[in-house]
């Protein structure tokens, strides 16, 4: 599904990712953990195609194709979804219009018929129930005036609508109470299938009680310093990030 080989990324001349290797197979869930500033969001952004990051070397294949040469919208339509750590507000743009455009762009790309307003509303209601979104939210402008938790739920709601092959969740759990956390986890688990994969970036082990990962990686100072099964998250929780920091001090 996704294959990252020796990826180096800089921003404004500063090297942030220093040789990332990661192999995500269909059906797998990978957790990426690590202290603040390690480069987790950078990795997520580079995969999604954010322009200001410069890939200085390395390669990323998504379903066998060179991901890095594709425009962000193309990556999205190929099935890569990013749940943003900080979703932006777009004043004056109704959620419904935004989502309908997004869904129909995906459908067009796949050669499917675009949904009519009625069909779309039906689909929207269905997914809204799934992630427990308040119906009022879709009448508002994109993320405008949403609370932190509502913004995160909105990301999962969009994921549910777009049904990506690879979902990257960038700290979607941060700032959520336990109920919201479960909702987010349910959203992800509902999409789980042998064909779909996810990369779950998180700071805390908590989310991984509900979304059980196949692998846990620890990203530190732009490098993956440890990879193991789900027990690594627990170990990290117990020992704290200082453990990683001292182990990798040089």
């Amino acid at each position: 599904m996704l294959s990252i080989k020796d990826l180096y990324v800089s921003i404004e001349g500063m090297e942030i990712l220093k040789g990332i290797n990661l192999e995500v197979k269909p059906g797998e869930i990978h957790a990426i953990m690590g202290p603040n500033g390690s480069g987790k969001s950078t990795l997520a952004s580079v995969l999604a195609g954010k322009e200001e990051y410069e890939v200085t070397s390395g390669e990323v294949l998504f379903e066998g194709e060179n991901l890095l040469e594709k425009a962000p919208e193309e990556r999205a339509k190929e099935g890569l979804f990013l749940s943003f750590q900080y979703p932006v507000e777009i004043p004056g743009v109704p959620m419904v219009n935004f989502l309908k455009s997004a869904v129909n762009e995906h459908r067009k790309y796949k050669g499917e018929k675009e949904l009519t307003a009625g069909e779309f509303l039906k689909l929207m209601r269905e997914k809204m129930d799934m992630v427990d979104m308040h119906p009022n939210l879709t009448n508002r402008s994109v993320n405008e005036g949403f609370s932190g938790g509502e913004k995160k739920k909105n990301e999962i709601f969009q994921m549910a609508l777009l049904e990506p092959k690879l979902a990257i969740l960038d700290e979607t759990d941060s700032g959520l109470d336990i109920d919201a956390l479960k909702t987010v986890a349910n959203g992800v688990n509902a999409l789980r299938s042998p064909e779909r994969s996810a990369i779950v970036v998180t700071h805390y082990q908590r989310l991984l009680d509900y979304i059980v990962p196949d692998y846990v990686h620890i990203l530190y100072k732009g490098k993956i310093v440890k990879t193991a099964g789900k027990e690594l998250a627990l170990e990290l929780e117990e020992k704290g990030y200082d453990w990683i920091k001292t182990e990798n001090a040089n």
């Binding site: 999604a48 425009a71 919208e73 777009i90 004056g92 935004f98 997004a102 762009e105 402008s141 994109v142």
Partner: protein
Amino acid sequence: MEDQDKILSEVTQREYKYGFVTDIETDIIEKGLNEDVIRLISAKKEEPEFMLNFRLEAYRKWLKMKMPNWAYLKVPPIDFQAISYYAAPKKKAQYESLDEVDPELLETFNKLGIPLEEQKHLAGVAVDAVIDSVSVKTTFKETLAEKGIIFCSFSEAVKEHPELVKKYLGQAVPVADNYFAALNSAVFSDGSFCYIPKGVRCPMELSTYFRINAANTGQFERTLIVADDDSYVSYLEGCTAPMRDENQLHAAVVEIIALDRAEVKYSTVQNWYPGDKNGKGGIYNFVTKRGVCRGVSSKISWTQVETGSAITWKYPSCILMGDNSVGEFNSVAVTNNHQQADTGSKMIHIGKNTKSTIVSKGISAGKSDNSYRGLVKILPGAKNSRNFSQCDSLLLNDTCGAHTFPYIEVGNKSSVVEHEATTSKIGEDQIFYCNQRGIDTETAIGMIVNGYAKEVLNKLPMEFAVEAQKLLQISLEGSVG
């Protein structure tokens, strides 16, 4: 998006070059301006004496005036003697069918969702008698006639309703109001006239589309709208299709008079040829639009979407004379490439308890300059008056400019004036967010800009609003990168 932008400028450019083959049958008088020319214009139009006097007075005053230079605009010198001031508006269709029209122009029409029949009309294609909208026009005219509404060309009004024209012409915009209004008053060729009788609600949007020859808008157009007591009308000017004209200078005047409890909504979409990417060519649009709320509790609202012209100089204004009268100005002005716009509004409060609102949304891209200029003046006698002004600027890059020049004069203590202004840059993060959901950059910009301008677009009549939204997107294509 580079391509799109190229297409658009090419389309407009090409049409501009080839589209206006001078029709030998057109009745054109020699270039230049003097009293004889004005007498000739008036004579050719068989005008009554009061019209000639109006023109001559305007001309004599104009001679003593200077072109205004206070706007934030760089205006190249205009040679007023190099203009021909009269061309009979009887242009023939230039093409036999749509097949002959530049396919790229048609593509732009399609993007805007303009119906086929209208496309023909706009592109100057002979309209087949069977599918002509004559029947639409007839029903339209009949409905209006039943209500006693007069809606005709200005020349027709001068002939058929001279008493109304005489009574109201120059009431909102006096002959020597400003340089361009004076010039217009002296030489205007035609335009629209509209009168809504007492107590009548005009049952449909009055659109210049329905007027014969409306597509050949004159260089010096004159519009006069009079809403008698307790009447209502919504008037639509212009169209969203790219408009070209061989005349570089346009100086129109629009006057609105609202009597007791009358309401006039005036909506404009201005999409004149803006010049090419390098700032070559394009229309200079110097317009004077003013409404007088003469009656008590009357209301005039201006809503404009300005995307065209190389230079725009335009300040639709309201004079709130009647007590409790209301003035509104809602504007979206887009400038791209080398366009310059200096636009805004004047709200002059004279009556008591008068209210005005100004909402201005500037959007600048390319190397353009976009200025808001507004005057809110509350006279001492206008007790308990209110104004609220909101002036926002959205920048699409670092090479364009946005400027705000608000002037506020409050003449009494019981009135309140509020002014808010913001300037922001379109968010790369917002565009990326859309991209990540599968929406391409061009569509994303269109969405974001429409969201930003929503408050104003919402004020437009439905059918106009949809086209205006598309227009915003098209005018900004290729502007972020």
